[in-house]
Symmetry: C2
Subunit: 400 residues, 2 copies
């Protein structure tokens, strides 16, 4: 088989992460190693940049620029929330033909894999030689097939570190503290807060995830039990938790608010779940010191807390996408397989079909969730800790 | 004058900070250097621990324990929100006499200085030899007399770093982003977000502080102007901002909500200002992508982002409180004076009366606020940057 020769496009899509630029730089580095790829165009704001022919010439960047871009969080090319349908994908394909694009690298989550999948099928049907490779990216860690996703380890580092600090704060001035963590459908990021437990009685004492519906009553009972034992309680909650009827709590709260709003203030923001839960606990348990925070966007682009393992893996996935693309396969998503535990942890990459990663998402496996559905089991530590950066030690004054 | 000989108590009070344990360890270290101080008792939860006679024996701690406690954020002794009145202070004073306490070190804000002040007067009136020294602590940086306060530099590091990441995120997926920062009366912490501006068009583009009342209309107009120019806008807002009638916006929002609440969901939480402002901007400006986060408690005890200068200064203030206490003065608060700029920045400590620090607070000086009242001037950089830890560099793909 002869090599496919032509130009390449790379784009970034979806919510930014701390290491998505590592993957971008991995793609650029590896492209420079292969003569069959002529120009490398960076699409400004993902698929939007393609249809608008808004491109950077990425081969112009110096070694130093590349290294610094790699260490910068968020998406250097700009990202997009566009989820192209068939017609949008046709427009992309037309641009590809116009510019002799023969390689398409798309760094993103399952929606990006879907876009890549549609375009790949179009190219095949048109008999147009096009290599389409997807590089996984998501702080939610919810892509199918791969062991884990670049971006998750860094977001998990932020969450673990934030909860360590917040638990120390809650020890100093005891009360009930709730932290709302990103994750509408998958509990991986919320579950990572369990890394904050390193000493006896460390929080989080309760962890609620979208995989386990929970009633107001259960949350109140669970918190009361911890509070009775410790005089305080740290609770970490996924933004996507549902009531026992499987309706997301955020939706229920919104419906209540809509009923209450007479053209006056209408609240639907990020703080609604935090406020609702803290008010519920205050009223039901008659405990005055209840505080709640929503970590929000800080979780995904916070600089200075990048997990070194996550950064290296993100870079490697970017490089391997190109390496696979110049080989015989015409399309794939890059997956990671894990070998070894603890200090012997390492990964290797493999190819999986775009279809296998597109559309659907992965949930936190049952094996990591306790029977009551209100906590994460110690076994999850082995899964998540190799992906996370160094966590600062803490020291208490010993009991005397 | 003969040395006062007896036991000592140290306590921590108010909201924890990233470096309040540095001050505690500074006190412990220096106490060990002076034979006139026999036992050193650590009060568990500040004044509560004193009246309950709930003490740690702090001379038992090893060198290694001290070093590790110093690096741990939040208050290792436990903190308290109690603001003792005259009667509470009498009970404290009785305990002091009972345990032959001759030295009292209180690490906290202006309320702690008030407590120390009341107890000092009681001791003087009773003719009881007592040394009362206050060690400044606050992320708000709002204590009078001192140039700045231990704890501020570390919280400012978090805020600056969070806004750097958030601004990168907002560049990747453009829209309007609001971040709510702690500070009910003083804008110092919010103002520190200006350190995130290092490249052309970097956010924050607008900064609102409690020192400058602002109407809804002004915020909308200001944001629209930035949005028209850049297609995005990063806004940082103190939680304590007021309307032009000087009523805090959080109070106005709460009153609106109370009117709307029919025994249903009642919102009063941390997210209310963020939600109110983002909904206002969405409705008034017809811009769909408006997001808001409230940094909340993460600002004050986040581990791993401690400013080295802040840590060293907090330690030094703790040591100097003891050093001053074994000298001729009977009571003071430790202040910091600044010498030199940029790389030549250094501080020295001095004593100021407890009364001069008690009760009242400091506002952000006018010289740092722009005329429109919606931003912080570049001159503030010189004030704040020496106090802040290293900020991660960022690199964009150059315009082509």
């Amino acid at each position: 088989m002869t090599k496919v020769v032509g130009n390449a496009v790379v784009g970034q899509s979806g919510g930014p992460t701390g290491v998505i630029n590592q993957s971008l730089v991995g793609v650029i580095e590896e492209v420079c190693e292969h003569d069959c790829i002529k120009n490398l165009y960076g699409a400004h704001h993902g698929v939007q940049g393609i249809v608008n022919e808004d491109f950077y010439d990425l081969k112009k960047l110096s070694r130093r620029e590349l290294d610094e871009i790699a260490m910068t969080p968020s998406a250097a090319l700009g990202s997009t929330r566009d989820k192209p349908d068939q017609e949008y994908c046709s427009r992309i394909f037309e641009i590809f033909k116009k510019h002799d694009i023969r390689y398409f690298f798309y760094i993103g989550g399952n929606d990006s894999a879907s876009t890549a999948h549609i375009i790949n099928i179009m190219a095949q049907e048109a008999g147009y030689d096009l290599k389409v490779f997807h590089v996984p990216k998501t702080i939610d860690n919810d892509l199918l097939v791969t062991d884990h996703c670049p971006g998750y380890g860094t977001a998990a580092t932020f969450v673990a570190q934030a909860v360590i600090g917040d638990d120390l704060d809650n020890r100093a001035i005891p009360g009930i503290k709730l932290d709302i963590v990103m994750g509408r459908h998958a509990g991986f990021l919320t579950a990572a807060s369990m890394l904050a437990r390193r000493n006896e009685d460390d929080g989080p004492h309760l962890i609620y995830i979208p995989e386990r519906p929970v009633s107001k009553e259960q949350i109140c009972n669970d918190v009361q039990k911890v509070y009775d034992r410790l005089g305080r309680c740290m609770v970490v909650v996924s933004e996507g938790i549902s009531d026992v009827d499987h309706t997301p709590w955020t939706k229920k709260i919104q419906e209540n608010l809509d009923e209450d709003a007479h053209g006056n203030v209408q609240l639907s923001g990020t703080g609604a779940l935090a406020d609702f839960l803290s008010n519920t606990l205050k009223e039901e348990l008659k405990i005055s010191r209840v505080r709640a925070d929503t970590f929000g966007y800080l979780q995904r682009s916070f600089p200075g807390l990048i997990s070194p393992v996550d950064a290296a893996e993100a870079r490697y996935c970017g490089r391997m996408a190109v390496y696979y693309a110049v080989g015989p396969n015409s399309a794939a998503s890059v997956g990671m397989q894990r070998f070894g535990k603890g200090d012997r942890y390492r990964i290797d990459t493999f190819m999986t079909t775009l279809a296998s990663v597109a559309v659907k998402t992965k949930s936190l496996p049952d094996e990591y969730i306790n029977e009551e559905g209100n906590n994460i089991l110690p076994s999850f530590h082995e899964y998540v800790s190799p992906l996370v950066g160094p966590l600062p030690p803490v020291r208490f004054i010993p009991k005397q």
